[in-house]
Each structure stands twice: as structure tokens, then as C-alpha cells.
Symmetry: C2
Subunit: 359 residues, 2 copies
């Protein structure tokens, strides 16, 4: 029941992928522990420099002999005007005041060419270091990149939030597709469909994707335990990708304020916002989300807004102040626990087997 | 696996409830066929007069000897001003023009006392006619009403969209709670929590409710087949309530334009709107939803807005024009089929047993 085409492709014991959460959460210990416990540990490399990327890959190789993976953000052209930056700063400056930060009016805006170059360097490193699995968010890489990675025998995982996006992944030659339900914490992986259209719950999304594509489908969003794993399998998925459940593990690098916020939250306390990064993402509703709510549509796109809020998120985090941190979480925070990765995975598998024996 | 406390309480063979869709969809044939096929047929009596309510109950008794149920809308005090009605009419009049309807400026606004009186008469009829099961949407009836219904040995089902709402149902003495995920079509059943907070996907909602209440939990939202039934059971639900799947059945009274719209829709083509009734509901995104999108917050509450759009919905439907009809649908329209109730239920059970044998 737990062994299938997905576990074969990934060469893992259990059909459990640790979601590649970017921003320091996926420490080498977390990634290695997941792989050592029979799942697939994943580096969230979206915000890493090429140097950091290579370092972490090397570090993980020291900690595990099992397969692990890495996730990259596929860069997309973006436009930004001086005016947009100025207007976003006008909203952000009162928040900077509250955090005793210097007000700002201009910013060094990331250039697409630089972002793209970093991505291509990361791809090169993934091949040189022979990372067994590479996954993508926010899009599908070019034909050439996919062909090169496949020649290096790297298993490719794509992300989709709708049937159409899953079909595009399959067409491009991606091996496995993660379908992200509306329950999911962190960034929406949508890259064709607008975010509102793409807010489909997993109970609906999994079977409709499974009926349309032939590659293995992995479910993501709100899955925290053996119940979610078994439900996903019943719906036709081959496995699960879990974020929030691993984020509160002792090995995760998430800020303790972030972990505590999840451990104390209810199912109805998350919300979607694009105020932190310019891309829609789900997190625990805090002061920042509430204050920015009516300005959502006036803010610049990713990665510009992400750069603009960097000082705010950093200061809030340094001051142990949850008000202005991005407290990404899926819709199942009541099921989150503070435990080791080993114990989390053991519990999932035991619960799954238990369900399988009584249903 | 398919027999449990819920099927025992309801005295049904299979843990499948046909959602009580109001507005002429739940014909007596539909309700009776569901009960005759081993599920629980339900009358959507939210918009029925007391006379119509009694007539349909009597009609169904002629068609089945199996248990069936009825759903009532719990009335809530509402406020409305002349100005709100005037402003809503200003938005609606251009649509009336498109349908060759007379423009309107005033309306006979429903009075709470009348709505409440109708509800109490319906409760009386349910007891007199000894309807085996009574379910509620939009709230929980008073202690007195619950006590009377229970004395008449009527099994009570409540609706919840969050853990808190499920707990309130249990506290009030309700026997079974239907948890409505964000995937669900038609009206959101939220009665404590605001609609946005309450948009929790079933993968998250079911286990978090199951961990908190002791009464049987029934899952609703996007469930269309044996996969959804088995997934819900894995997550801890005792059964499912299905709307869209029954709506496209040949026995349903839904308009053929409505059925066709669902049969041709994709998973990302539904949206939430309060423009039809004043309460948030999910339907296939049509011209009406799009045109009213930026006026959502300016419209009067249920049931006022519902009364205001009545002529529009009726004319659109008479003209076989899907543009201004309320095309309620959950997020799984790709899984909808035109088939008989008997065949739908047979397929669900066969698929569920099949899944159970291979997982």
C-alpha cells in the first residue's frame, strides 16, 4: 500500500516528502533526518546563493547516504516602477517605525537577469553534485534545462495547483507532480492560473488531477498525519508532501516564535496574503497581514515586494515579535506537534497501517 | 467499514447523505430514490412554505418506506435599510434590462417575524409527520425546539464550517454534525465564523473536528465518488454528504442548463459570491458573478438580497440563459456524471470496496 511508482522513482521507503520550505527552515539536519527516517528530505533553496546551495548539499551528504532533494524557484520576468516601490514604502514605513527601523524610500531592486543567472548556476550545481531529486515551484524550467537534468538521471518533481498546471508539468517531461491544495501553507505554486481560481481543496483537486495525468501525483496541503496520508492514497495520490508538520519538528530551523504561533493556532486563523513577498501565500493572520489587507492589490510583484519587506521580517524576527513575521502555516495547525522527525514519520506510518487494518 | 454509529443512528445501509439542496432540486423522486438505494434522501425545505413542506413529505412517504430527512434554514435576525435596497437595485436594473425585465426600485422586503413563523410551522409539521431525520443550516435552533424534536425521536443533524461551530452543535445536543469544507457548492453554512475564516479544506477540517467532538462527523464538499467516501473515512468521518453529485442525476429537479453547466465545468471555474442571496455561496462563475464582483460588500444580507434577485434568477432560468442563474457547484465538476441515483450509489459503494481491497 505504501510502495508504488513514486517510492520506486525516488528510491525511498515511505511515500513522504518533506516540503522544501525556503528561508532557513530546511536545515541540513532536518533534511538528512527525513531521509534517514525513510522519507525524502528536501532543501528549500529558493533564496540561497549558489555558494550556499553547494555548501548545504555537501553538508547533507555528510549526514545521510539516503536520497534527498532540492527545490528551486523558476524565475519569471517581472516589471516594477519607481512609483510602485514608493507607494509600497509608504505603507511599510509606519511598520518600520513600530520596529525602530529606519524609514526607506528607495531600494535596490533585484534584476531579472541576476535572478535568472543564480537559477542557472543552481541547476549546474545540482547536476555537478548529483542531487538525486530536483523539484520546481512557480513554473516549469525550459526544455533544455529539463533535458540536461534528465540526462544526469535526476528525478524531477513539479508543482501544480490546477489540473491544467499538472498537465503542463507532464507534457514537459516532469516525473512526478505535487498538487497543492488550497489548505497548503506558504506560497501558492500557481504559475498559469490566477491565485483565486487555483484555490482548490485537496478532496477535489487530487482525483481530478489523477484522472487526467499519468505521472504519479503527490498531495500537499494540510496533511499532518497517517490519516492525511491514507486519505490522499484513497483519492489516487501516490504519496504526500508535508510542510507545516515538519516545520514544528525540533530539527527545523524555523524561528521559535513561528513554531509557537503554529502550535497555538486554530484551523480558522490562517489567511492568504501577498503582502510579504508579492506572491500569494498562506500564513497565520498577524498584525502585518491585517494592516496590509486593503493594500494587497497595490503592491509590486515578487520578488520586488519580498526585497522591500526583508528588513521588516528580519527585525521582527530578531525582536521575537510575531506581528510582522511571515508565519507560514497550512490549515491544520491544531494537528501540529513539537517532536523529532523520526517520531513524526514513525507515527505517520503506524497510524496509516492502523487505518489500513480497520477500514 | 461502511457501518458505524452514523448509519446506525440514521438506520441507513450506506453512509451517504444526499445534500438537501433547496430551490426545487430535491424532487420527491430524487429523495425517495436515494433512500431506496440505501442512502439518506433529504428534502431541501429552506424555501418551501409550510403547505409545500407537508405535501412533499407525504409524497415521499408514498415513494419509499426507508428513512429520509428534511433540512430547514434556521432564521437569523436581519437589518435592512431603504438605501441598501435602492443601491442594490441600481446594480440589478442593468441586468434586468438584459433579460427584458421591468426595472424595479422598491421591494416587499421579507420580515423576520414571518420567516421565523414559517420555520416554527415547518418544525411542527416535521414532528406531526414523524420525519425520521431533520437537519439544520445557518445556525442551531433553540433549546426548546431541539428538546421537542428529540422527544419525537427525530435524529438531528447540524452543519459546521469550523471546529468551533461543530462544538456548538454538539453542546446543543445535535446527534450528527456535517462539516462543510471550502470545496462545497451552494451556500456556506457558517453561522459563527466569518466566511473567509471558515474556508477550510476538508483535508484539514475533518481531522481537526474529529479530534474535538464526540458525535459522528459527516464530510461535505467536493465528494463525488468512492474515493471521496474512503478518504473521508480515513480522515475520521463516519460518512459523506454529497450535493453536486446528486444534482446532475436524472432524478434531480435542477434546471437542465444548470446540470449542463456543471457537466462542462473544470475544477477552477467555481467562485464564491454573495450576490445571489446575500449569503456566501459557491457556484460556477458566470456573467452575474463577474458583474457583481466589486459590489459584493454593498449588498444587503440574506434573505433580502435573495428576494431582490428572485425575478432575475427566474427570468434567466425561463430563458435557458445561464448568465444570471445561480449555478451552485462544488469544486469537483469534472467528476460529475449524468446518471441515475441508483447507479451513482452503486458505483460509489463498489469503488469504495475496491479501494478497501487494494490499499
Amino acid at each position: 500500500m505504501l510502495n508504488n511508482k513514486m517510492t520506486e522513482l525516488l528510491k525511498v521507503k515511505y511515500p513522504i516528502i518533506q516540503a522544501p520550505m525556503a528561508g532557513g527552515i530546511t536545515t541540513s539536519t532536518l533534511v538528512a533526518e527525513v531521509s534517514n527516517s525513510g522519507g525524502l528530505g528536501m532543501i528549500g533553496a529558493g533564496y540561497l546563493t549558489p555558494v550556499q546551495t553547494r555548501e548545504q548539499i555537501k553538508e547533507i551528504k555528510q549526514l545521510t547516504s539516503h536520497p534527498f532533494g532540492i527545490n528551486l524557484f523558476v524565475p519569471k520576468e517581472f516589471m516594477v516602477t519607481e512609483k510602485e516601490v514608493h507607494s509600497a514604502n509608504q505603507f511599510l514605513n509606519p511598520i518600520r517605525q513600530q520596529l525602530n527601523l529606519q524609514e526607506k524610500d528607495s531600494f535596490e531592486i533585484p534584476r531579472f537577469n541576476d535572478v535568472f543567472e543564480t537559477f542557472m548556476e543552481q541547476i549546474k550545481i545540482v547536476m555537478e553534485e548529483k542531487v538525486p531529486v530536483c523539484s520546481f515551484t512557480f513554473g516549469i524550467p525550459s526544455k533544455e534545462v529539463i533535458a540536461e537534468l534528465k540526462q544526469s538521471n535526476i528525478i524531477l518533481i513539479g508543482t501544480a495547483t490546477t489540473v491544467r498546471e499538472a498537465v503542463e508539468n507532464e507534457k514537459a517531461g516532469i516525473d512526478i507532480v505535487v498538487v497543492q491544495g488550497s489548505e497548503a501553507g506558504g506560497h501558492r505554486g500557481s504559475f498559469i492560473d490566477e491565485y483565486q481560481q487555483s484555490l482548490v481543496g485537496l478532496m477535489s483537486l487530487i482525483p481530478q488531477v489523477v484522472d487526467t495525468v499519468n505521472i504519479p501525483v503527490v498531495a500537499a496541503g494540510g496533511i499532518m498525519d497517517g490519516r492525511g496520508l491514507m486519505a490522499s492514497i484513497c483519492l489516487g495520490a501516490k504519496g504526500v508532501q508535508m510542510g507545516t508538520a515538519f516545520l514544528t519538528c525540533v530539527e527545523s530551523g524555523a524561528h521559535k516564535v513561528h513554531k509557537e504561533a503554529i502550535l497555538n493556532a486554530n484551523e480558522d486563523q490562517t489567511d492568504l496574503t501577498r503582502s510579504f513577498s508579492g506572491k500569494w501565500a498562506r500564513g497565520i493572520k498577524n498584525k502585518f497581514i491585517i494592516e496590509m489587507q486593503d493594500k494587497e492589490n497595490l503592491l509590486p510583484d515578487y520578488p520586488v515586494q519580498n526585497t522591500l519587506t526583508q528588513d521588516i521580517r528580519k527585525a521582527s524576527s530578531t525582536q521575537n515579535n510575531q506581528d510582522f513575521m511571515s508565519l507560514w502555516s497550512g490549515q491544520s495547525p491544531r494537528l501540529a506537534k513539537s517532536q523529532t522527525v523520526k517520531s513524526l514519520i514513525k507515527n505517520i506510518i503506524e497510524e496509516a497501517k492502523n487505518i489500513n487494518s480497520y477500514i
